[in-house]
């Protein structure tokens, strides 16, 4: 689905994060438009995962706000956060599937908790979601019986169980071989196009970024914030910042 030109679904305003006295980033401002795939990139330690954890309401920032449909989730109470979390899905770096449960039970968990659907409908939804991620027939498998790529896809099936408005991915293709990573990229694009789900992806895989991103936000450790944003093409071809060029062209910055 092409991103909406104006309508933003998430707005990050003057966000700052610190660990003790160490500033991770400050004055971070950007918007996530409805239906777009926004990729957050940057070197290790620049605060990508911290930013993601603040956006999903797991961490509190040092300062600033994150607005979702007008509600500031940084200042939201527990009930509001719970309502927010029903509208988002998250795929963690390790997939975070519950190892003691079959895939069926992993996906059924949010459906049983947040809807009053009957068992037959829940079963149909589980099968549909698994088919969407090319895992039809795997509902009785345990996570330990799956490969790394399959675990990621199962994680996506669980994340989209409630048809969330926004999906967050932490290090989408970390630890996957290039072929599986490309398959996962295709799945992301297909899900975005079919369901119109807005996606925020944290990664540093250049190929993934170029394949899937509608827009890129680049964080930098030394700048302690955003140094560039735009389409991958714009950043790759037009940016004059040596850090951005080095990232996209995978070469050392000019001395």
């Amino acid at each position: 689905m092409p991103p909406s030109k104006n309508e933003s679904i998430i707005e990050v305003k003057n966000l700052a994060a610190r660990f003790d006295d160490n500033i991770v980033f400050e004055n971070v401002n950007f918007q996530v438009r409805k239906g777009e795939i926004l990729v957050v990139v940057g070197e290790s330690g620049c605060g990508k995962s911290t930013l993601l954890k603040i956006m999903i309401g797991l961490h509190k920032p040092y300062a600033g706000s994150v607005f979702f449909q007008g509600m500031d989730i940084v200042r939201a109470d527990e009930d509001q956060l719970q309502a927010y979390r029903q509208n988002i899905g998250v795929l963690f770096q390790s997939s975070a599937l519950f190892s003691s449960m079959r895939l069926r039970e992993n996906i059924a968990l949010p459906l049983q908790e947040y809807t009053d659907l009957d068992a037959a409908m829940i079963d149909s939804i589980i099968r549909m979601k698994l088919a969407m991620v090319n895992l039809a027939g795997y509902e009785n498998h345990y996570p330990s019986e799956l490969s790394g790529g399959m675990k990621k896809r199962a994680g996506i099936a669980r994340a989209i169980a409630l048809d969330p408005l926004v999906l967050f991915f932490d290090e989408l293709s970390a630890g996957l071989d290039p072929v599986t990573a490309v398959e996962l990229d295709d799945l992301i694009i297909k899900t975005n196009e079919a369901l119109g789900t807005t996606m925020v992806i944290v990664t540093h895989e250049l190929e993934s970024i170029c394949n899937i991103a509608h827009r890129v936000v680049m964080l930098d450790k030394s700048a302690r914030g955003i140094i560039a944003s735009g389409t991958p093409q714009e950043l790759k071809e037009k940016s004059k910042d040596p850090r951005v060029r080095s990232f996209f062209l995978r070469q050392m910055p000019e001395a």
Partner: protein, 381 residues
């Protein structure tokens, strides 16, 4: 689609009927959150009108998610089963895309792994017995490997990771001092109080100190200390090694040429063999103190009399055998804790299972070993 929105009011369904042909107009938001509501509304409409043909018009649908789309497809299937012709008309681009990703065939596709039916009672008993035998063989194998590793360490003392031994001595010993002390005082108090209630009837209060010190040094001191250490350290060893197995740290050790048993188990076993006897002496002492509190406050004995009576009963032989017992218990706790840790294969559930098993097995082995000691020492004396 806002947070906290009342989804039951976010859609509208209207209809027109003509010549047994029912047109249903859907408008608004259709999602997993109002799926039950709109499904019932549409089915009710069809039941009332009894049409031969139904058209569902999507032109005013502003939001449709995959669960709602799936539900509408199932309604269509339901109509088909009722011999009602049905079709979706004026689908928006978004709706078309969502319907296109739902593959009806996969909804009824047989799972590629069928759930195993539970075995019969006798098969389960047989399996449990085989499992028990396997477990026994594994423990024997592990004991063999552990003894080899200990012998190697004895012959090559430099190979011992002294830093690790000191660390586990602190963890199992020093960190356990408060709880072992507290429990021992309470046990001493209880024995003194209970024996006082009985012995006062025959005017034999003077034997309370002997009973407390005899029970503490010979049995309760070593056993209580061992049970506490099994709960604290045996479980910790199993969880620590189990987590290392899950994280492939044990595989990494093997690849780097280290023997995991020598690297991980030996320091723990040696630390425990050193520290548990010391903890046992400490527990004996606090047990006697517990009895002393009752003796001085309840039996009108002086502290001097109480301690003299206590010391009269305790023989050097008893203390030595108590220490030997404690060392054997320590080896059993550490050994079984490490063995259970190495048995973990995958996941948090396995770690939990084998941690529990480490504690239960350790307590069982402690009691078995204590019974053997009781009989052997009886004949030795």
């Amino acid at each position: 689609m806002e947070i906290g929105k009342d989804w039951s009011k976010s859609y509208k369904i209207s209809s027109t009927a003509k010549d047994r042909r029912l047109s249903i107009y859907l408008s608004g938001n259709f999602s997993i959150k109002n799926l039950n509501d709109f499904t019932v509304s549409i089915r009710d409409l069809a039941e009332k009108q009894k049409p031969a043909e139904i058209n569902m018009d999507f032109s005013d649908v502003s939001y449709l998610d995959s669960a709602a789309a799936l539900s509408l497809m199932q309604i269509q299937k339901y109509f088909k089963a009722q011999n009602i012709k049905s079709s979706f008309v004026n689908l928006t681009g978004e709706a078309k895309r969502i319907f296109s990703v739902i593959d009806e065939q996969t909804l009824t596709k047989k799972s590629c792994k069928t759930e195993k039916r539970p075995d019969s009672f006798f098969v389960q008993i047989g399996d449990a017995f085989i499992q028990l035998m396997r477990d026994f063989i594994e423990v024997v194998e592990f004991v063999g490997e552990l003894l080899t590793a200990l012998l190697y360490t004895l012959l090559n003392p430099r190979s011992l990771r002294v830093k690790d031994v000191l660390f586990y001595m602190k963890r199992a010993g020093v960190d356990g001092l408060p709880i072992v002390g507290l429990i021992s005082v309470l046990i001493g108090l209880i024995i003194a109080f209970m024996s006082f209630l009985q012995l006062k009837q025959v005017g034999a209060n003077i034997y309370v100190p002997s009973l407390v010190s005899f029970a503490m040094v010979k049995e309760l001191g070593p056993i209580m200390t061992a049970i506490l250490v099994a709960g604290r350290s045996g479980s910790a060893f199993a969880a620590e090694i189990g987590t290392m197995v899950v994280n492939e740290e044990v595989d990494a050790l093997k690849i780097m040429g280290f023997d995991p048993i020598r690297f991980l188990a030996v320091p723990k076993v040696i630390a425990m063999i050193i520290v548990v006897p010391i903890l046992t002496i400490y527990a004996d002492f606090f047990g006697v103190i517990g009895g002393l509190i009752v003796g001085v406050t309840g039996l009108d004995l002086t502290a001097h009399t109480y301690l003299t009576q206590s010391l009269k009963t305790i023989k050097v032989f008893d203390i030595i055998t108590s220490l030997i017992k404690a060392a054997v218990f320590a080896a059993l706790i550490a050994g079984i804790g490490c063995q259970r840790g190495f048995k973990v294969r995958s996941g948090a559930q396995d770690v939990g299972k084998y941690t529990t098993s480490a504690v239960v097995s350790a307590i069982f082995l402690i009691v078995v070993a204590d019974s053997i000691f009781a009989v052997t020492l009886y004949y030795l004396r």
